[in-house]
Amino acid sequence: MKDHEEVMDNVATHEQWKTVFSELAPGLVLFARQWVRSSADAEDIVQDAFVKFWRRNHKIDNRALLYATVRSTALDLIRRDSRRARREVEASADVDLTIAPQFYVDDESQRALICALDRLPGEQREVLVMKIWNELTFAEIAQALEISQNTAASRYRYALAALKKDLERVQ
Protein backbone atom coordinates (compact mmCIF):
# COMPACT_ATOMS: atom_id res chain seq x y z
CA MET A 1 0.00 0.00 0.00
CA LYS A 2 1.14 3.53 -0.74
CA ASP A 3 1.95 5.89 2.04
CA HIS A 4 2.00 9.64 2.12
CA GLU A 5 5.74 9.95 1.41
CA GLU A 6 5.41 7.72 -1.61
CA VAL A 7 2.61 9.84 -3.04
CA MET A 8 4.61 13.03 -2.39
CA ASP A 9 7.66 11.53 -4.03
CA ASN A 10 5.56 10.42 -6.95
CA VAL A 11 4.23 13.91 -7.57
CA ALA A 12 7.66 15.46 -7.15
CA THR A 13 9.39 13.13 -9.58
CA HIS A 14 6.72 13.02 -12.25
CA GLU A 15 6.23 16.64 -13.11
CA GLN A 16 6.21 15.64 -16.75
CA TRP A 17 2.60 14.62 -16.32
CA LYS A 18 1.57 18.13 -17.36
CA THR A 19 3.26 17.81 -20.74
CA VAL A 20 1.88 14.34 -21.27
CA PHE A 21 -1.59 15.33 -20.14
CA SER A 22 -1.65 18.41 -22.39
CA GLU A 23 -0.80 16.22 -25.35
CA LEU A 24 -3.33 13.54 -24.49
CA ALA A 25 -6.17 15.77 -23.27
CA PRO A 26 -7.92 16.52 -26.61
CA GLY A 27 -7.98 12.82 -27.50
CA LEU A 28 -9.04 11.79 -24.01
CA VAL A 29 -11.90 14.29 -23.99
CA LEU A 30 -12.96 13.12 -27.44
CA PHE A 31 -12.86 9.54 -26.16
CA ALA A 32 -15.00 10.47 -23.13
CA ARG A 33 -17.46 12.39 -25.29
CA GLN A 34 -18.80 9.10 -26.64
CA TRP A 35 -20.74 8.58 -23.44
CA VAL A 36 -21.88 12.11 -22.59
CA ARG A 37 -23.49 14.96 -24.47
CA SER A 38 -21.46 17.90 -23.28
CA SER A 39 -17.78 18.79 -23.34
CA ALA A 40 -18.01 19.83 -19.70
CA ASP A 41 -19.16 16.34 -18.66
CA ALA A 42 -16.43 14.77 -20.79
CA GLU A 43 -13.83 16.98 -19.13
CA ASP A 44 -15.16 16.01 -15.69
CA ILE A 45 -14.76 12.36 -16.64
CA VAL A 46 -11.22 12.90 -17.90
CA GLN A 47 -10.31 14.82 -14.76
CA ASP A 48 -11.69 12.14 -12.43
CA ALA A 49 -10.11 9.36 -14.43
CA PHE A 50 -6.70 10.96 -14.71
CA VAL A 51 -6.56 11.71 -10.99
CA LYS A 52 -7.70 8.18 -10.22
CA PHE A 53 -5.06 6.83 -12.59
CA TRP A 54 -2.37 9.00 -11.03
CA ARG A 55 -3.41 8.18 -7.49
CA ARG A 56 -2.84 4.51 -8.16
CA ASN A 57 0.71 5.41 -9.16
CA HIS A 58 0.50 3.84 -12.55
CA LYS A 59 3.19 4.62 -15.07
CA ILE A 60 2.30 7.60 -17.17
CA ASP A 61 3.15 5.65 -20.30
CA ASN A 62 0.61 2.93 -19.54
CA ARG A 63 -1.89 4.38 -21.98
CA ALA A 64 -4.09 1.30 -22.16
CA LEU A 65 -4.76 1.59 -18.46
CA LEU A 66 -5.39 5.32 -18.71
CA TYR A 67 -8.03 4.83 -21.42
CA ALA A 68 -9.53 1.92 -19.54
CA THR A 69 -9.83 4.20 -16.51
CA VAL A 70 -11.53 6.91 -18.58
CA ARG A 71 -13.92 4.34 -19.99
CA SER A 72 -14.82 2.82 -16.64
CA THR A 73 -15.22 6.28 -15.09
CA ALA A 74 -17.61 7.25 -17.87
CA LEU A 75 -19.59 4.03 -17.56
CA ASP A 76 -19.74 4.42 -13.77
CA LEU A 77 -21.07 7.93 -14.23
CA ILE A 78 -23.72 6.71 -16.63
CA ARG A 79 -24.80 3.93 -14.29
CA ARG A 80 -24.85 6.22 -11.28
CA ASP A 81 -26.65 9.08 -12.91
CA SER A 82 -28.80 7.16 -15.37
CA ARG A 83 -32.04 8.40 -13.86
CA ARG A 84 -30.84 11.97 -13.63
CA ALA A 85 -29.36 11.84 -17.13
CA ARG A 86 -32.62 10.48 -18.51
CA ARG A 87 -34.49 13.34 -16.95
CA GLU A 88 -31.98 15.83 -18.32
CA VAL A 89 -32.14 14.34 -21.79
CA GLU A 90 -35.92 14.40 -21.73
CA ALA A 91 -35.94 17.98 -20.46
CA SER A 92 -33.32 19.14 -22.92
CA ALA A 93 -35.04 17.41 -25.83
CA ASP A 94 -37.69 20.12 -25.85
CA VAL A 95 -35.30 22.97 -25.30
CA ASP A 96 -31.97 22.48 -26.97
CA LEU A 97 -30.79 19.86 -29.36
CA THR A 98 -27.41 21.45 -29.84
CA ILE A 99 -24.47 19.27 -28.94
CA ALA A 100 -21.10 20.92 -28.57
CA PRO A 101 -18.89 20.10 -31.55
CA GLN A 102 -16.23 17.48 -31.11
CA PHE A 103 -14.11 18.53 -34.08
CA TYR A 104 -13.09 21.68 -35.84
CA VAL A 105 -14.87 21.66 -39.19
CA ASP A 106 -13.16 23.13 -42.24
CA ASP A 107 -15.58 22.13 -45.00
CA GLU A 108 -18.77 20.26 -45.85
CA SER A 109 -17.01 16.97 -46.57
CA GLN A 110 -15.66 16.99 -43.03
CA ARG A 111 -19.13 17.73 -41.69
CA ALA A 112 -20.46 14.70 -43.58
CA LEU A 113 -17.65 12.58 -42.20
CA ILE A 114 -18.45 13.67 -38.64
CA CYS A 115 -22.13 12.82 -39.17
CA ALA A 116 -21.13 9.40 -40.47
CA LEU A 117 -18.90 8.94 -37.42
CA ASP A 118 -21.84 9.67 -35.15
CA ARG A 119 -23.83 6.94 -36.84
CA LEU A 120 -21.25 4.25 -36.14
CA PRO A 121 -22.03 1.60 -33.52
CA GLY A 122 -20.44 2.55 -30.21
CA GLU A 123 -18.03 -0.37 -30.10
CA GLN A 124 -16.64 0.49 -33.53
CA ARG A 125 -16.47 4.19 -32.83
CA GLU A 126 -14.51 3.80 -29.62
CA VAL A 127 -11.87 1.71 -31.39
CA LEU A 128 -11.68 4.29 -34.18
CA VAL A 129 -11.31 7.17 -31.72
CA MET A 130 -8.57 5.35 -29.84
CA LYS A 131 -6.73 4.46 -33.02
CA ILE A 132 -7.03 7.61 -35.13
CA TRP A 133 -7.01 10.47 -32.64
CA ASN A 134 -5.25 8.85 -29.72
CA GLU A 135 -2.79 6.78 -31.75
CA LEU A 136 -3.07 3.68 -29.60
CA THR A 137 -1.82 0.40 -30.99
CA PHE A 138 -4.22 -2.49 -31.43
CA ALA A 139 -2.48 -4.17 -28.51
CA GLU A 140 -3.19 -1.15 -26.30
CA ILE A 141 -6.78 -0.90 -27.53
CA ALA A 142 -7.30 -4.59 -26.86
CA GLN A 143 -5.91 -4.21 -23.35
CA ALA A 144 -8.02 -1.14 -22.59
CA LEU A 145 -11.25 -2.71 -23.85
CA GLU A 146 -10.44 -6.21 -22.60
CA ILE A 147 -10.89 -7.73 -26.03
CA SER A 148 -8.51 -9.59 -28.32
CA GLN A 149 -6.25 -7.73 -30.73
CA ASN A 150 -8.04 -9.42 -33.60
CA THR A 151 -11.38 -8.13 -32.38
CA ALA A 152 -9.95 -4.63 -32.03
CA ALA A 153 -8.53 -4.74 -35.55
CA SER A 154 -11.81 -6.14 -36.93
CA ARG A 155 -13.87 -3.42 -35.30
CA TYR A 156 -11.52 -0.84 -36.76
CA ARG A 157 -11.88 -2.28 -40.26
CA TYR A 158 -15.67 -2.55 -39.90
CA ALA A 159 -15.78 1.09 -38.79
CA LEU A 160 -13.76 2.26 -41.79
CA ALA A 161 -15.88 0.17 -44.15
CA ALA A 162 -19.08 1.52 -42.64
CA LEU A 163 -17.83 5.10 -42.93
CA LYS A 164 -16.82 4.61 -46.53
CA LYS A 165 -20.16 3.07 -47.41
CA ASP A 166 -22.05 5.79 -45.58
CA LEU A 167 -20.15 8.56 -47.35
CA GLU A 168 -20.61 6.94 -50.76
CA ARG A 169 -24.34 6.71 -50.10
CA VAL A 170 -24.54 10.38 -49.16
CA GLN A 171 -22.55 11.58 -52.19
Binding site: M1, H4, V7, M8, N10, V11, A12, W17, K18, F21, S22, A25, P26, G27, V29, L30, S39, A40, E43, V46, Q47, F50, V51, W54, R55, R80, A100, P101, Q102, F103, Y104, D106, S109, Q110, L113, I114, L117, L128, I132, W133, R157, L160, A161, L163, K164, L167
Partner: protein, 161 residues
Amino acid sequence: MNDFSDIESELKKLRPTQPSADLLRRVENAIVDLSGEEKIVRPHQFRIHWLSLGASLAAAAVVLIFLRFDFQKAAQSPGVAAQSPPPTKPVPATFIPAGATQVVYHTRDEGLFFPLHSEEPVRRVRSRTQETLQWRNPATGASLQVSYPAEHVQFIPVSGQ
Protein backbone atom coordinates in the same frame (compact mmCIF):
# COMPACT_ATOMS: atom_id res chain seq x y z
CA MET B 1 -3.98 -4.36 -49.18
CA ASN B 2 -5.38 -1.46 -47.24
CA ASP B 3 -8.49 -0.22 -49.05
CA PHE B 4 -9.17 2.33 -46.41
CA SER B 5 -6.12 4.56 -46.66
CA ASP B 6 -8.19 7.37 -48.19
CA ILE B 7 -10.80 7.37 -45.44
CA GLU B 8 -8.08 7.03 -42.81
CA SER B 9 -6.31 10.10 -44.11
CA GLU B 10 -9.60 12.02 -44.18
CA LEU B 11 -10.24 11.04 -40.58
CA LYS B 12 -6.75 12.11 -39.53
CA LYS B 13 -7.42 15.55 -40.99
CA LEU B 14 -10.22 16.03 -38.47
CA ARG B 15 -8.89 17.87 -35.44
CA PRO B 16 -10.61 17.28 -32.08
CA THR B 17 -11.65 20.47 -30.32
CA GLN B 18 -9.30 21.59 -27.57
CA PRO B 19 -10.48 21.06 -24.02
CA SER B 20 -11.00 24.15 -21.92
CA ALA B 21 -7.92 25.80 -20.48
CA ASP B 22 -9.48 25.17 -17.11
CA LEU B 23 -9.09 21.40 -17.40
CA LEU B 24 -5.32 21.31 -16.92
CA ARG B 25 -5.60 23.65 -13.93
CA ARG B 26 -8.33 21.50 -12.36
CA VAL B 27 -6.33 18.32 -12.82
CA GLU B 28 -3.25 20.06 -11.46
CA ASN B 29 -5.16 21.18 -8.37
CA ALA B 30 -6.46 17.68 -7.83
CA ILE B 31 -3.01 16.14 -8.18
CA VAL B 32 -1.41 18.74 -5.92
CA ASP B 33 -4.13 18.01 -3.39
CA LEU B 34 -3.17 14.36 -3.58
CA SER B 35 0.26 15.21 -2.22
CA GLY B 36 -1.15 17.39 0.52
CA GLU B 37 -3.49 16.83 3.35
CA GLU B 38 -6.69 17.26 1.40
CA LYS B 39 -6.70 13.90 -0.30
CA ILE B 40 -5.07 12.04 2.51
CA VAL B 41 -7.70 10.27 4.49
CA ARG B 42 -7.99 12.11 7.76
CA PRO B 43 -9.69 10.88 10.88
CA HIS B 44 -12.73 13.10 10.48
CA GLN B 45 -13.04 12.20 6.82
CA PHE B 46 -12.50 8.53 7.18
CA ARG B 47 -14.97 6.67 9.26
CA ILE B 48 -14.31 3.00 9.60
CA HIS B 49 -17.22 1.00 10.84
CA TRP B 50 -15.35 -0.25 13.85
CA LEU B 51 -17.96 -2.82 14.75
CA SER B 52 -17.66 -4.46 11.33
CA LEU B 53 -13.88 -4.23 11.42
CA GLY B 54 -13.81 -5.75 14.91
CA ALA B 55 -16.12 -8.55 13.87
CA SER B 56 -14.01 -9.26 10.78
CA LEU B 57 -10.78 -9.32 12.77
CA ALA B 58 -12.35 -11.56 15.40
CA ALA B 59 -13.56 -13.96 12.70
CA ALA B 60 -10.11 -14.00 11.14
CA ALA B 61 -8.51 -14.66 14.52
CA VAL B 62 -10.88 -17.56 15.15
CA VAL B 63 -10.00 -19.07 11.78
CA LEU B 64 -6.31 -18.74 12.56
CA ILE B 65 -6.74 -20.33 16.00
CA PHE B 66 -8.60 -23.25 14.46
CA LEU B 67 -5.93 -23.67 11.81
CA ARG B 68 -3.19 -23.78 14.42
CA PHE B 69 -5.27 -26.09 16.58
CA ASP B 70 -5.71 -28.47 13.66
CA PHE B 71 -1.99 -28.43 12.93
CA GLN B 72 -1.18 -29.24 16.54
CA LYS B 73 -3.73 -32.03 16.64
CA ALA B 74 -2.30 -33.52 13.49
CA ALA B 75 1.20 -33.32 14.92
CA GLN B 76 0.08 -35.04 18.13
CA SER B 77 -1.69 -37.86 16.32
CA PRO B 78 0.36 -41.04 16.96
CA GLY B 79 -0.32 -42.57 13.53
CA VAL B 80 0.88 -39.53 11.67
CA ALA B 81 3.73 -38.87 14.09
CA ALA B 82 5.08 -42.35 13.56
CA GLN B 83 5.17 -41.98 9.81
CA SER B 84 6.20 -38.37 9.47
CA PRO B 85 8.48 -36.86 12.05
CA PRO B 86 7.81 -33.25 12.98
CA PRO B 87 9.86 -30.69 11.09
CA THR B 88 13.08 -29.68 12.78
CA LYS B 89 12.32 -25.96 12.31
CA PRO B 90 8.95 -24.48 13.24
CA VAL B 91 7.05 -22.89 10.35
CA PRO B 92 7.21 -19.12 10.78
CA ALA B 93 3.77 -17.59 11.22
CA THR B 94 4.69 -14.49 9.28
CA PHE B 95 2.01 -12.88 7.21
CA ILE B 96 3.00 -10.38 4.58
CA PRO B 97 0.66 -7.92 2.86
CA ALA B 98 -0.62 -9.48 -0.34
CA GLY B 99 -3.11 -6.97 -1.62
CA ALA B 100 -5.51 -4.19 -0.94
CA THR B 101 -8.64 -3.29 -2.87
CA GLN B 102 -11.13 -0.49 -2.58
CA VAL B 103 -14.48 -0.85 -4.30
CA VAL B 104 -16.52 2.34 -4.52
CA TYR B 105 -20.14 1.28 -4.59
CA HIS B 106 -21.87 4.57 -4.01
CA THR B 107 -20.94 8.20 -4.61
CA ARG B 108 -23.13 11.19 -3.90
CA ASP B 109 -22.46 14.80 -4.86
CA GLU B 110 -23.75 16.80 -1.92
CA GLY B 111 -23.42 20.16 -3.63
CA LEU B 112 -21.38 23.27 -2.99
CA PHE B 113 -20.20 24.50 0.40
CA PHE B 114 -18.23 27.49 1.56
CA PRO B 115 -15.65 26.36 4.13
CA LEU B 116 -14.87 28.67 7.02
CA HIS B 117 -12.42 31.47 6.21
CA SER B 118 -12.63 30.72 2.51
CA GLU B 119 -14.31 32.61 -0.28
CA GLU B 120 -13.92 29.76 -2.73
CA PRO B 121 -16.70 27.18 -2.79
CA VAL B 122 -15.94 23.50 -2.64
CA ARG B 123 -17.99 20.58 -3.83
CA ARG B 124 -18.61 17.92 -1.20
CA VAL B 125 -18.61 14.37 -2.57
CA ARG B 126 -19.39 11.48 -0.27
CA SER B 127 -18.48 7.97 -1.30
CA ARG B 128 -19.04 4.62 0.31
CA THR B 129 -16.50 1.92 -0.24
CA GLN B 130 -15.75 -1.65 0.66
CA GLU B 131 -12.08 -1.99 1.46
CA THR B 132 -10.32 -5.30 1.62
CA LEU B 133 -6.85 -6.02 2.98
CA GLN B 134 -5.12 -9.33 2.40
CA TRP B 135 -2.12 -10.98 3.96
CA ARG B 136 -0.44 -14.21 3.00
CA ASN B 137 1.95 -16.55 4.71
CA PRO B 138 4.39 -17.62 2.01
CA ALA B 139 5.64 -20.52 4.13
CA THR B 140 2.27 -22.16 4.65
CA GLY B 141 0.19 -20.64 1.86
CA ALA B 142 -2.38 -19.52 4.42
CA SER B 143 -4.08 -16.23 3.72
CA LEU B 144 -5.97 -13.75 5.80
CA GLN B 145 -8.47 -11.26 4.48
CA VAL B 146 -10.28 -8.43 6.21
CA SER B 147 -13.07 -6.45 4.60
CA TYR B 148 -14.78 -3.46 6.05
CA PRO B 149 -17.07 -0.72 4.79
CA ALA B 150 -15.81 2.86 4.89
CA GLU B 151 -17.10 6.27 4.03
CA HIS B 152 -15.04 9.07 2.49
CA VAL B 153 -15.89 12.72 2.11
CA GLN B 154 -13.90 14.72 -0.39
CA PHE B 155 -13.92 18.47 -0.78
CA ILE B 156 -13.19 19.40 -4.37
CA PRO B 157 -12.30 23.03 -5.11
CA VAL B 158 -14.66 24.69 -7.56
CA SER B 159 -13.79 27.73 -9.61
CA GLY B 160 -15.45 30.06 -12.06
CA GLN B 161 -18.59 30.35 -9.98
